[in-house]
Each structure stands twice: as C-alpha cells, then as structure tokens.
C-alpha cells in the first residue's frame, strides 16, 4: 500500500516536471518567423475567469477570420494565452510572453489591475500593448508610447450614460433633466468608482438632482442596505455600475422588497446571465449602457452578423457578454493597422494609428470609429450605446444611427 502511494507521488511529481519542462521546450522550439504572435493577457482563472475567456473568444474569432483569408503580411497569426488575475501574475506572464514566447504584440485586458503592470513591462520592451477592454482612465495616462486603447473607457461610458438620460430617458418620462432625481450606485473598485464619479459630476453639471452616490462591495453576501438606501430617496433613475453577480443580487433584492424605480440603468447589464437570474419579466425594460450589443444594425456595425454566426458555429451558443464583440472589433482594427504599417513594431503601428481617421459607424463590427488622442493614445471615437431589455431580447435605443430595428424606448418600468 505504502509502496503504491509512493509510486503515485513520484509519478505525479514527474508529470508536473514533464509538463513544466515540455512547455518550455515547445515554446522555445517554435520561435519561427512564419507567424505573427499576439499574446492575450486575461484572467483565465479566479472569479473573473468567465469574462477573460469570453473576451478571448473575440480575439480568437478575428484571428480565425484573418487566417482563413490568407493571414497578415503573408504570415499566419497565432494567439498565446496568458493567465493573470492580479498585478504580480501580470508581471510574470507579461515577461513570459515577451521574453520567452517572443510575442510581437500584447492585447488585453478585462481587469485594469492587470493592465497597469502589464503595460509597464510591455513599455520596457517597447512591445505594442493593444488595449481593447480595460476602462480605468489612468492606464493611458502613464505616458507610455506603446499603449493604445482602441476600446472605450470610463469617460465614454459616463458620457453616454449622461447623454442618454438627457436625450432619451428624460423625454420618455416626460420630465426635464432638472426635475430628474437620480441615485447612483457602483461597485467600489476602480471600474465602478471612476464611472460613478464621472456620472455624478456630469449629471450635476446638467442640473439633475443626484441625491446619493453609494459605493458597495461587489462580493457582499447581502446588498439590502444599498437597495433600501436607494429606495428611501425615491429616485426616478437608479443608475448602476457593477458586475454580473452583484447586479443580479441587487435586482433580486429590489424585487424581494417589491421596489422598482421608474428607470433602472446599468452598465453592461445586457449580459445573458442577468436574464438567467431574473427571467424575461424581471429584466423587462431595464436599460443598459453597454458595449455595442449584438442587435445593432449591420449598417452601423458591418460584420456583426458574420461574427454572431461564427461564434455560434465555434462555441455552440450566442455570445454571452458584450465584451466579446469589443475584443473582436478591436482586434480587427489592429489587423488593419498592421497591414497599413506593414510591421508589428510598436512605433510604426502608433504612427499609422495616429494617421487613421474613421468616422463612427459603418466600418467596424463594433460601430466604433478610430481617431486617437495624440496625448493619451485613447480612441476618441469608441462609444458605448444605450440598450433596453424588451421581451427577453436586447434592443438598441440610442444613438439613433446604431438602432437596428424599430425599437422604441418603453418607460417607466412596470412593477416586478
């Protein structure tokens, strides 16, 4: 008995050494010139693994597409995954991608906390860091010449939220902006805080009454205090920024005390997981400031239908979170830039990116335009849209050029 267990131990240890050793030799061996390597840093483990995985699928679909069409600069494109859930792991994995896997470009990142150290490493090696997802404003304020954010940021989220309230929500309620009573709630990390603070500031500038801004812990087992504090203010609009599991808990707890404000707006609340949690009736009428959703018109976002189709073929379901589309669109822009620059060099891509001037809508599957801010290298034409849950489906409401169907906003919300 002891003998056997000793053998299992030895076998297991050998297996581990084998795996570790193998991975080293394989990656060193395949250092060929025939492909363009793109490293993808995402949280593939930990609590955000699902988001990391779904975001990666966007990269993957874009790469499949370009490889099917003969590749890029005559080479095949290859993705290399790197799993980082915190700053420490981000350093290790970014170093691995650059110094061992010899990637040409790094892209990411669902977590801003991972983006900070990873961009620093990429900067040290002057490798292009192609940011498609992270929202924290200071990622692009580090003065790095190699970090380009092609996706949206907290600033654009907040401004779309405020614009939608002014242009769509207030008229639908038949009130002027100055009469609107608003409670802002947001999860307490940099993602929620940066958006929540900007929303508060801009809504106040418009003259709306922001009654309260409530940060909360997204991992809390109970959010009844947030719900009750919001309810006490009796707001017209309940404006939320958070994740999936705290979002479903908040909505459920509001339902459990029978409270439904006239308008609920969430950031990225068009995830199908919320539909699973609250059902078709529960989500009916809830608005979402989101990455472009999957029902924007083909005219506004050319290629979105093809992407939906290939997603379903490859993964067997409809896309689950909107971030997949964002990384898909972002990767396609990257490929165009590589073609223009005829290189994967960070400086050359930056030069050609700064020259790029694409209007919003009509070019990329996200509907994003491209015009970089020369200082921060943020894309100034990446805007989210306003959507509404109607009959268990996501409908784009605003801006009007993005609206695919003839969906109209339906407000105020009916009770639960």
């Amino acid at each position: 008995m002891r003998q056997i267990s000793k053998i299992t131990l030895i076998l297991f240890l050998m297996l581990t050494i084998f795996i570790v050793g193998c991975s080293n030799s394989v990656s060193n061996g395949s250092d060929s010139e025939g492909e363009i390597k793109i490293g993808v840093i995402q949280p593939f483990s930990g609590p955000n693994a699902q988001a990391g995985e779904e975001t990666f699928k966007g990269n993957e679909l874009a790469v499949d597409e370009i490889n099917a069409n003969g590749g890029l600069l005559g080479k095949k494109v290859k993705l290399i995954k790197a799993d980082a859930t915190n700053a420490q792991e981000a350093i290790s994995e970014a170093e691995r991608l650059i110094s061992k896997e010899k990637v040409d470009i790094i892209t990411g990142t669902y977590l801003s906390g991972v983006a900070f150290p990873a961009t620093q490493i990429a900067n040290k090696h002057n490798v292009l860091y192609w940011e498609t997802n992270a929202l924290a404003p200071n990622i692009t304020q580090q003065g790095f010449k190699n970090v380009i954010r092609i996706g949206q940021n907290s600033d654009t989220f907040a401004s779309v939220a405020v614009d939608s309230i002014k242009n769509v929500v207030a008229p639908a309620l038949g009130k002027s902006v100055k009469d609107l009573k608003i409670v802002i709630i947001h999860e307490q990390s940099i993602y929620g805080t940066s958006i929540g603070e900007m929303e508060e500031e801009r809504l106040k500038d418009l003259g709306a009454q922001v009654l309260k801004r409530i940060p909360y812990d997204p991992a809390a087992a109970d959010l009844s205090s947030v719900v009750n504090l919001s309810k006490n203010e009796n707001p017209d609009i309940w404006l939320r920024t958070g994740y999936v599991n705290d979002g479903s808990l908040l909505l459920k707890q509001a339902r459990d005390i029978g409270w439904k404000p006239p308008v609920i707006i969430g950031v990225a609340d068009d995830s199908t997981y919320l539909l699973d949690a609250l059902g078709k009736d529960g989500m009916e009428g809830i608005l979402s400031i989101s990455y472009p959703p999957y029902d924007v018109s083909e005219d506004y976002a050319p290629g979105i239908e093809a992407m939906m189709k290939s997603y379903k073929e490859k993964y067997g379901s409809d896309p689950k979170i909107p971030q997949t589309l964002v990384s898909f669109g972002g990767t396609k822009i990257l490929f165009d830039l590589i073609k223009n620059a005829e290189s994967t060099n960070a400086d050359k891509i930056r030069e050609s990116a700064l020259k790029m001037d694409v209007e919003i809508g009509g070019t990329y599957p996200t509907g994003y335009g491209v015009k970089l801010d020369p200082g921060t290298l943020d894309n100034t034409r990446a805007y989210p849209v306003l959507t509404q849950w109607q009959d268990g489906k996501i409908r784009t409401i605003y801006p009007s050029e993005a609206v695919g169907t003839d969906a109209k906003i339906k407000l105020p919300l009916q009770g639960w």
């Binding site: 609590p47 990391g52 995985e53 949690a277």
Partner: protein, 288 residues
Amino acid sequence: MGQIIISGILLGGIYAIVSYGLTLIFGVIRVINFAHGSLLMVGMFMAYYLSKGMNLNIYLMMLIVVPLMFILGVLIQKYLLSKVINEPDMQLFVTFGLLLLFENVMLAVTKGEFFSLDMNMGTIPIGSLVLDWGRLINLVAAIVLAILLLLFLNHTKIGWAIRAVSQNRYAAGIIGLRVERLYILAFGLGSACIGIAAVLLTPIYTIFPHVGFNFVIVSFAVVILGGLGSIPGALAGGMIIGLLESLSGYLIAPELNQIVWYLLFLLVLFFRPAGLFGIAGSEEGGVK
C-alpha cells in the same frame, strides 16, 4: 428601518445556516477548515444541476444533495485529514489545498460561467414591510435545523459521543470512544449541513466557482462568536452578525457594512473568548 431589521434577520438566517456545518467540523475536529466555502459552492452546483437536470423543485434536491455531501465529507476526513490527524498544521494546509482544488475543478468544468435559478417565489407584504419567500424559507429551515441538531447532539448516543470528543478528545479516547471514527462522522455531518445550506441558498444567489469564498470568514466569526460547537450559539451569532451588517450598511455606509461586526467580534473574542454561548474556558481545551 423596519425593513432593514427584517433584512438583517433574514441575512442572519443565511449566515447561521452556512455556519452549522463549520461549527460541527471546527468545534469537533478543531481544524481551521478553509474548504468550508468551497464545499458550499460544490453543494450549490450539485443542487443546481440536479434540479435543472431532473426538472424538479430545488428544495426536493435536499434528498439527494445532503447524502452526497455527507459522503464527500466522509471521504475528505477518511482519506485526507485523518492521514495527518496529529499534525494540525498539515490539516490546515490540506483544507487550503482542497479550497483551491474544488474551486478550480469547478472552474475548469464550467469555465467560470454564472448560473442562476430563475425562480421568482414572490413576496409577503406585512403592512409596509416586505419579506421574500426564499430567505424566509431559509430562516425557518435554519431554526428547525438548529433544533434538530440540538436534539441529536443532546439526546442520542452518537450525539453524546461527538460532544465528548469535542470537549476533550484524549479523555474521550480513554473512555473508549473511537475518536477517529467520530471525526469522520462529524465531518460527514458538517458537510451534510453545508449541503442543506447549499440547497437553500441556490435560489438566492448566482452560482459560480468562487461563490463560497465570501462565506468563509463570516462563518468562522459566527462560530466563534456563538461559542465553539454550540448550535444555538451559531444561530444567535448569525443573527447578530446579519443584523449588524444590515444596520451598519444602512446607517453608516454600505462600504463599511462589515466593520461593526468585525469590531464586535474582536471585542467578544478578547473579553469572552469562549463566545457568547460557549462554556468559559472551553476555548483552551484542544485548540492549539
């Protein structure tokens, strides 16, 4: 305000039911079981998949989940923890390993996706106040389970034996109790209690591989606050922490909702380490 107190009591019910399993395991075997939360998560996934797969009411799943969790607990104690029974350090180490293992096996299986039961059980209005069925059922179950466990521990032979071991394992061994087997039983029972909690929480929470993590610290606090191994203590401890969390979230700030019970917990620990319902001095026996 009334609504806040109701929320607090209902939350207390959740914290209490999550802690019974830990009070049995921690109280008897005296191991800091980091895997507690991940066992809860495993139970929730079991309940969810079974309920979806068989298309039956979630609460019926208790009949299957509880025995399965009992077996899982027995296996853990018998084949892992009892191998290091004299090494408290390594027991703790193994439970931490199990925490990582369970979470990440489920992560590898589900790829971290979120699962929710779409179950709107409705609410019960009482005047201007509202209760929800999911948490109310949980609260009633927490009270009933406390009574059942109390009856079991106080009025059955096995219950006496378990209590004897929890009070002094060496003396219990001397009077002829088979300590190792009782440990296995205690872990199994504790795990079964976690199974009950898992079924009751499945309609309330969104399930994903890390859902149990946040219940670990609060469960330890409940168990120590109430008194190690004391079932009524766990119920009371859960209520106190639930109420404090709800009230301080409302009155101070939701960001600080845990700070008051952290402080109360520390105060109790410093002035009455045996906990509110524990026998004074009991904290010194065996806990090292």
